[in-house]
Amino acid sequence: MKNYLILRVITKLLIPFILLFGLYVQMHGDYGPGGGFQAGVIFASAFILYAIVFDVRIARKVMPMWLLTILSCVGVLLYCGVGIATLIYGGNFLEYGVLSSIPSSGNHIGILIIEIGVGIAVAAVILLIFFSLAGRR
């Protein structure tokens, strides 16, 4: 799609806002609709848009496959890590209340961290699937 000037310019303008919206949905998930899963998908869709309008190869340079593989593992491990951290602090697995002296704010911290883990894992896995499909030809 090298010749579509309007598409290229509009995409360039839109991508920062899509990424920002993804971060907003991620961090605002406990106040409004949204959360890690939706944020990960929105974040990944910005990269997919970039790859469709420009080139998959350039998008792959921005987000190489090895980084995506590591990121997807990091997301899942962050989630499990919170569970193990609560075990170490003396609670049950994924009992976030023990993360802080006040159980309710501990719950809030736990939700934030695991949502970030979910977001990273979902974004990385969707991009992984997309790149391995799109890079075949």
Binding site: D30, P33, V41, I114, E115, I129
Partner: protein
Amino acid sequence: MIFVFVTGCFAIWLKDLVASTIILGIYSLIMATIWVVLDAVDVAFTEAAVGAGVTTALLLFAIWLTGKSEKKVNRIQWGAILGVILTGSLLIYGTIGMPDFGDPSAPAQIHISPYYLQNSLAETKAPNAVTAVLASYRGFDTLGEVTVIFTAGIGVLALLSGFRKRRKREKGVIQE
């Protein structure tokens, strides 16, 4: 609802797979508006982002890799029709046993959701009760979901990257 039905029928009826995919995207978008009408904003969000957005892109790329038109099937497959009718009638039979829409005495309304709605803000400081339930009360389920997504990614990676290596090897054999 009528729009959902019509787009669903079109998606099955059309032989052009690209058109079917686009119509499936529209279907998801209409479903998202239905979720909004039913006050399920989080589900609507997911439906719009995943169903209408990413799935369409992934399906289009899969079609681009394989082929544009559906394979023609001439004879009628009675086994498949029987299976579809059986499952469909079982599902419809199941909906008869469901409580009425918006029934205040339904099990979903009286069992545990009042507890969540009343206590989730005080216990988790998360004003969005859906997030509180998903991440905190049902944290173990969400961990399972993330693991499922992770496994799907690993599976696709294993399938597709192995294929490319083998094809390269075959090309190398031909060139020799």
